[in-house]
């Protein structure tokens, strides 16, 4: 099945699937805001992006799909990218996970649900 012509080679390269395992490390998990950031970043790339958690595989470019993962902190997610810019897409998406989606560590306390607290325990004062 080898196709020595250059067209075939390029075609093969463009269909190559690269993957990377990442961990959800923000304490609130993949809730609405990080899911939006993730899908938004995924849509910037031509490659097909899929996220896999155990047997659950979803379209990384759809926020609704990403939310159905219900991925809590500590969940291992495999990002799969298939297409011409797969490597760069994986780098960009991996960075989002590494940066914890720029989440404040305790966003719901930041939102002042008790009316007079700012940031609470375990805080990251610089944020």
């Amino acid at each position: 099945m080898s196709t020595p012509d250059t067209m075939g080679d390029r075609d093969t390269a463009e269909r190559q699937t690269l993957s990377r395992e990442v961990v959800v490390s923000n304490s609130q998990g993949l809730h609405a805001r990080p899911a939006d950031l993730l899908a938004r970043e995924a849509r910037k790339w031509r490659s097909r992006i899929e996220l896999v958690v155990d047997a659950h595989r979803v379209d990384g470019k759809s926020i609704l799909d990403v939310l159905t993962l219900a991925a809590e902190a500590g969940t291992r997610v495999v990002i799969e990218a298939t297409g011409p810019d797969a490597r760069d897409a994986l780098d960009a998406l991996g960075t989002l996970f590494a940066k914890r989606f720029n989440e404040l560590e305790e966003p719901s306390n930041h939102d002042g649900s008790t009316g007079h607290r700012h940031v609470s325990r375990g805080g990251t004062p610089g944020h």
Binding site: S27, L30, H31, A35, D36, I63, T68, E72, P107, G112
Partner: protein
């Protein structure tokens, strides 16, 4: 997690009167107060907390759906309700479209997992166009309640 695990059926509103983002949040929180799910003294701080969360980024997740939410010590388990705005409301949603379907969630502090599982259920069901269309067309809270029950039991087949 199923809708019946967190949706207060007597707080469902099929036609919200509000025509603004804060207005619909207020109306839904009031519905939870009237249904006895949250105490009146927490009403204002819950509304404020939800609006502050919206300032971090709209929970209008697209497809005419929003999931306004907060954590609050005034609840000991996840409570939520559903509302429909037939004309739609500008919720600064991620895709810019007006929002017709609202799922409002209030969860106890330190239970992010419950919140995620509720979001999982809502988003999974909302991928079904038929479910969305029928919800928007609901004539009253009982219709909505039935749709949620149907989704809980099998998904709304198209």
């Amino acid at each position: 997690m199923k809708f019946s695990d967190f949706v207060a059926s007597d707080a469902i509103r099929a036609r919200v009167e509000a025509d603004s983002k804060e207005g619909v949040v207020r109306e839904m929180v009031r519905a939870l107060v009237d249904a006895g799910r949250i105490t009146r003294s927490d009403e204002e701080s819950i509304v404020r907390a939800i609006m502050k969360r919206e300032d971090l980024g709209s929970t209008g997740i697209g497809r005419g759906v929003a999931v306004p939410h907060t954590k609050h010590p005034g609840v000991t388990r996840l409570v939520g309700t559903v509302a429909v705005s037939p004309p739609g409301i500008d919720f600064e949603s991620l895709d810019g479209d007006p929002v017709h379907l609202f799922f409002l969630l209030v969860s106890p502090p330190d239970r992010p997992g419950d919140h995620l599982r509720a979001l999982e259920n809502i988003s999974r069901q909302l991928r079904d166009d038929t479910f969305c269309r029928l919800l928007k067309a609901a004539k009253g809270p009982v219709d909505i309640q039935h749709l949620l029950e149907e989704a809980d039991s099998q998904g709304v087949a198209s």
